[in-house]
Symmetry: C2
């Protein structure tokens, strides 16, 4: 563990510098997370071009969907153009409509809250846990017990009188939220759980892969993710009927009617092109290796940062999508960010907590507040986590 | 011209069969529109893979945007994940909000009306013209004069009291709508025009390319379009400030704030991946050739079908994205569709008119009705129009 006294982060930065540039032998800037195209990417993409299957149908879209189902242990998956759009339709499919509230953690990538807003709904924020970086199941249970009335479609937030339509736990940085406890708390109120697994492909919660731990979940294949489609996403579910509805809704709600172009609902054009699916298929073949490498890297960071390292929860195996450390103060964080980035090591702060963003600052919160999120976000730093760089440790 | 008597379409089908299979020497099924990857597609995509620029930033996204601006004669373009999403943000940028009405033609691909609905607004249908397949400028002018009150942001539909926020002319099948007349009618009421040029890349209206004939327009690069990105779209405009706002809104409304991830609005994840932009860049290099080939094909169809051929409007050069013919009756159309498809020639009917779709059937219409759209859609057939097939005529 690196000696580090509050107010003096230079030792940390020197140690990281030596780790990256001497031990791992990296040259040039060390990026936060860059794609690694080390497998069949070219071959599969060339195949889509050679066979003219570049658009939203074709064998690679189906292979991608099967791979997404397999990797998340789900019965079915639907290819979507990105994670935000996947979350939007997943929320629509569990019945989120304009004016509803949807519970989400106070810290997440802004896409989580945006997708809620795209339904015409608003996020309602619950704080993160005392050690974790995501939705605290006890605060969720207390909120549902003490601040809500009714059940299922009639569940209401007492303070605003508004309907609560779903809860969206997020596996921040790849670390699984406590889904068993969240599912129990939600079931007690007949509340739908939509699992935001955008960051946690390949992570395990009590031995089971993230993605299909609730009624419906979503994956992301953005360029900065553990595996990528350039841009891409998926809805995963154990409910085949829901998958059929999602595919329908995301392909302009077209229905078979002989030669006619009939459509039976306001649909979306959210289908992932085959070109991107082909890239993702090649990437998914390498997922287990990437996760092994990323976990080896995390082990090294844990050794360096000790208790300041944001470790995976008990009974979980994180993909360590983004490694994170908690410095002692916001001033330390700022000094660390400036020094590392000035020396070509790309670190970055936590996303600004959602309740602090101007478009969400007036959204309701549990009365228990969001203090842990505000405190932790002000001290957290994400560290370089690319699989290629990490592979040097295997 | 092929002899054709109502009730007997077999002669038409035989002639087409001979044209495709004997004269053009095509083998196997003749598809309605399939992509043709004849240029630098693989080279550019390989470059994105080799340089790791596969996601939503990188040189090909910028090249794609410049090419979109060039091809539509616009000052600026913004890469978007597809045409429907491009239209959605274009409508948001001209101020369309929940509860508004947006005027559109009674015939279009469903994406036009869906994008309006995605704003929380509703389409208001105006009929197509007596000869054209799209929005009739005289009916539009009459509707705005006789059935609306107010001006600009206060323009209201008298019958419903609702605000009219924009009008969306669509260049159906690649044939330009009468933009000069539409722009004048709209300007008289201070109404924003959003040009849906999804089908008309490379088409000319009075010598000027479609896309930037109004305040803002959109292009599509879907797999079935004249040139493709697998899936893709663009917003094009002569208003650089609008382009900056669209780019902001479609990239999660992120703002520069040092290392922080700040966002100042509910944004979207609508940015086109570089992988798709690279494909489109290669395709756009071939656009002029594809259009020349498609126009040569259209000339042949025109000779075969005579006055039944749906020709480009006066003073326009259509890209003839999809060739169309009007048969004498719906029964003839049905017989023609069945016979051609049974013999491996992929023809298809017009899209079902938007006011007949269940989710839009209760939307308001101009009191002049939508009779021309219903009549013409029931008799129209789209014919195979792929650029590769057409190139045999050059």
């Amino acid at each position: 563990m690196i000696p580090y006294t509050s107010g003096d982060v230079l030792g940390l930065v020197d140690t990281l510098d030596s780790f990256y540039h001497s031990e791992l032998g990296l040259e040039g800037p060390v990026l936060l997370h860059k794609p690694w195209l080390a497998g069949n990417e070219w071959a599969y993409i060339k195949e889509t071009l050679d066979t003219n299957w570049i658009s939203s149908a074709g064998p690679f879209v189906e292979r991608f969907e099967q791979a997404c189902a397999d990797v998340s242990g789900a019965a079915a998956a639907v290819a979507i153009v990105n994670g935000t759009c996947a979350l939007h339709v997943a929320l629509l499919e569990v019945g989120v409509t304009a004016g509803d509230l949807v519970i989400c953690p106070a810290i997440s990538f802004v896409g989580t809250a945006n997708a809620i807003a795209h339904c015409g709904a608003e996020p309602l924020f619950v704080d993160i846990g005392p050690t974790a970086t995501t939705l605290d199941p006890e605060l969720l249970a207390a909120f549902l017990r003490d601040e809500c009335d009714g059940f299922g479609a009639e569940l209401r937030h007492r303070a605003t009188g508004r309907r609560i339509a779903a809860v969206v736990p997020v596996h921040i940085f790849g670390h699984p939220a406590d889904m068993a406890a969240i599912n129990v708390a939600a079931a007690d109120r007949g509340l739908d759980v939509v699992e935001d697994a955008a960051e946690s492909i390949g992570s395990l919660y009590r031995g089971k892969p993230c993605g299909a731990l609730a009624h419906v979940g979503i994956l992301s294949f953005n360029g900065n993710k553990t595996v990528t489609a350039g841009g891409g996403g998926a809805v995963v579910t154990n409910d085949p009927a829901l998958a059929i509805r999602v595919k329908h809704l995301t392909t302009t709600a077209r229905i078979a009617a002989g030669f006619e172009f009939d459509h039976d609902a306001v649909g979306y054009n959210y289908r992932l092109p085959s070109l991107n699916a082909a890239l993702a298929c090649a990437q998914l073949e390498q997922l287990a290796y990437f996760v092994r490498a990323k976990r080896a890297l995390a082990e090294r960071y844990a050794a360096m940062f000790g208790s300041r390292f944001v470790a995976e929860p008990a009974d979980c195996e994180s993909n360590y999508w983004l490694n994170a450390v908690l410095l002692d103060t916001q001033a330390d964080r700022d000094a660390f960010l400036h020094e590392t980035n000035a020396r070509g090591m790309q670190t970055r702060p936590c996303w600004r907590p959602l309740p602090l963003l101007p478009m969400f600052e007036r959204c309701p919160r549990a009365t228990t507040g969001v203090r842990a999120a505000l405190d932790r976000a002000a001290r957290l730093v994400n560290l370089p986590s690319s699989p290629k760089m990490a592979s040097g440790l295997l």
